[in-house]
């Protein structure tokens, strides 16, 4: 009954309303996966905090109270998670930290998508010398130590959110480009593409309507794993003290700073590490769930 969705042999031009699509099936399978739903809940929570930080957070992230430096959780009534080393509300900084993490995670993957997919499809579809040049370029970039390179770039051009996104984007598109190229290469030989070509469908239309939609699912999965990788990259850079600049909060930076206070002020280390771990786990669960849900072979 689901063979239609699985084969991708959808010849009718508009797909038709009402029948069960791959996406419909995938959503059902995804929602039946408890871990994936749990991950999705975490991701949605962090996205909500990121979007509405101004409304949710009890204090602005940069409001300093000189008389409330380094207070423990619940020590003062207004600061449930305590205050940091210069007297800022820790809960507010954690909430705004979600904004930093989510922005970097999504932006880096957006750039990766915008560079990787066109480059990969070009290499895969055109082939020949274009493919050779692009593939060699991709191979060379793979041999680059990505995180080290980001550190290098940040150390040269300084920190800040746009520069962090830029530094992490330099190597983030490689995986997607390679993946897209492989997908297009294999899809190009499929019968339905040949059929489309025989009936005189233009090249652009073949790429946009026949190849890319079918290549999209693995790319989507790759992106859902790329977001936590980018979040990790930002947290790592900021942890070393070279990523996001003060006073913008970043979980990684909070962990890095807390290292000096951890013997006494344990809360400074505990909360941001939990936030980082939850964000990474959430996105990874969603990625796992998507991969399983979008795999047509998994149909029950």
């Amino acid at each position: 009954m689901t063979a239609r969705a699985a084969t991708g042999l959808d010849v009718s031009p508009a797909g038709g309303e009402g029948h069960r699509t791959l996406w419909h099936d995938a959503a059902r399978r995804f929602l039946r996966n408890r871990l994936a739903v749990f991950g999705l809940a975490i991701v949605l929570l962090f996205l909500f905090l990121a979007l509405f930080a101004d409304l949710v957070a009890p204090y602005p992230y940069d409001r300093v109270y000189f008389d409330r430096v380094l207070r423990f959780p619940f020590e003062l009534p207004g600061h449930p998670l305590g205050t940091d080393e210069v007297g800022r509300d820790y809960l507010s900084r954690l909430i705004y930290g979600a904004r930093t993490s989510m922005t970097v995670g999504m932006a880096v993957q957006l750039v990766a998508f915008l560079i990787g997919v066109p480059l990969g499809s070009l290499a895969g579809y055109v082939g020949g010398r274009t493919d050779f040049v692009i593939s060699r370029f991709i191979d060379t970039m793979t041999a680059f130590p990505g995180l080290m390179f980001s550190i290098l770039i940040i150390s040269v051009w300084g920190g800040g959110i746009t520069k962090v996104i830029f530094a992490l984007s330099i190597t983030s598109w490689i995986g997607i480009a390679r993946l897209t190229r492989g997908q297009i290469l294999s899809l190009r030989e499929k019968e339905y593409v040949e059929a489309a070509r025989c009936t005189g469908v233009s090249q652009n239309r073949i790429i946009l309507r026949h190849l890319l939609p079918n290549a999209l699912t693995p790319i989507l999965v790759s992106i859902s794993f790329g977001i936590p990788a980018a979040i990790f990259g930002e947290a790592g850079l900021s942890f070393l003290g070279i990523g996001i600049n003060d006073p913008i909060p970043s979980w990684g930076k909070m962990v890095g700073v807390s290292n000096a206070y951890v013997r006494v002020y344990w809360h400074l280390a505990l909360f941001p590490t939990i936030a980082v771990a939850l964000a990474m786990l959430g996105f990874s669960f969603v990625g796992d769930g998507l991969r399983d849900a979008l795999d047509p072979k998994m149909i029950e």
Binding site: S258, V262, L281
Partner: protein, 323 residues
């Protein structure tokens, strides 16, 4: 085969060339040179002297060529700005041992525990050890090492006060009398090893499960071989082949991961040097460390590919078969 390896070595050299050029030119873009005069302005003549001493008065491409000539021919990476009395090579030689020690212990733990857990989990599918292994694997793969490191510190150093918060006892003998003095090794190695351990355990479990279902395993069992013999001679031998790929993922990550572990636990190794060099804008030091890592990184990729063909004769490198 020889042609393939030659091609790979050529591309390795190309990568290193690109890395060195990019790093070199980026380094010279850093705002504020190492002889920044904001605090104590130098007389022009003195400044000129210093710039000439370090060769900074020449055009940048000449500087690059000089640098590469010294680096490749004499293994001379210049003089670190932060400690002008020694050489970069000497500084690296002094601190690589600690990093190598941390790395070696980590690899041993990751492979030892990872393979053991993976095999056990495969043999006892859906038992509690299997579930714990899956949980550890998930944690190790997703949670960054510095987060795990902070948790270990919070629990074992702050809360229980069992282990020291940081440092690295670099002495070769950890026993004074009968007392184990290298307790400061425990947390860094665990935090560092958890990621690779997770990957190894996951790989091992799935490939052991895979091999257990093969016909030759069933044949071995049918002809009456003992469990141990089957496991060692038939299953492990075949199951460990994919581990080489895992190696290719793990070693490069270990190279950069050390930066974080050394920062958390205040270990004076190469990783910590790298960070201080960046803060001090120590071009020669950053350049040398970056080249070193890029070199090891590409070498790992090359070796894992070669080892892979050597272990598993079914894999043929290159499109035409090569060998």
């Amino acid at each position: 085969m020889a042609r393939y390896i030659l091609g790979r070595i050529l591309s390795l050299i190309l990568v290193l060339f690109v890395v060195s050029v990019v790093t070199f030119f980026l380094m010279h873009q850093v705002p504020g040179g190492p002889f920044d005069e904001t605090k104590a302005p130098l007389p022009p003549a003195a400044k000129e002297n210093i710039l000439r001493k370090y060769g900074l008065d020449k055009p940048i491409h000449i500087q690059y060529l000089n640098y590469m000539k010294n680096a490749v021919l004499h293994f001379d990476f210049g003089i670190p700005y932060q400690q002008p009395t020694t050489t970069v090579t000497a500084l690296i030689a002094k601190s690589w041992k600690v990093t190598a020690q941390v790395g070696l212990m980590t690899v041993l733990l990751a492979f030892g525990a990872g393979i053991t857990l993976g095999i056990y989990a495969a043999y006892h599918q859906n038992s509690w050890i299997d579930n714990i292994t899956t949980f550890i694997a998930m944690l190790g793969i997703t949670v960054p090492s510095f987060v795990v490191a902070m948790w270990l510190i919070l629990f074992f150093a702050v809360r229980l006060d069992w282990l020291p918060m940081g440092g690295w006892n670099a002495s070769e003998f950890c026993l004074v009398g009968s007392r184990f003095v290298c307790t400061d090794w425990i947390m860094p190695v665990i935090a560092y090893a958890l990621g690779p351990l997770a990957i190894i355990a996951r790989y091992t479990r799935s490939s052991v499960v895979d091999v257990m279902r093969q016909d030759f395993t069933r044949t071995a069992r049918a002809k009456g071989l003992g469990n141990r013999a089957i496991m060692l001679r038939h299953i492990l031998r075949n199951a460990l082949i994919p581990m080489v790929t895992a190696l290719g993922v793990i070693i490069p990550n270990l190279l950069t991961g050390s930066i974080f572990i050394e920062a958390v636990f205040r270990i004076n190794g190469l990783g910590k040097f790298f960070v201080t060099s960046i803060f001090n804008r120590d071009y020669p030091m950053i350049m040398a460390l970056f080249l070193l890592i890029a070199f090891l990184w590409s070498l790992t990729y090359l070796f894992t590919d070669i080892i892979y063909t050597w272990i598993d004769p079914r894999v043929r490198l290159g499109a035409e078969g090569g060998a």
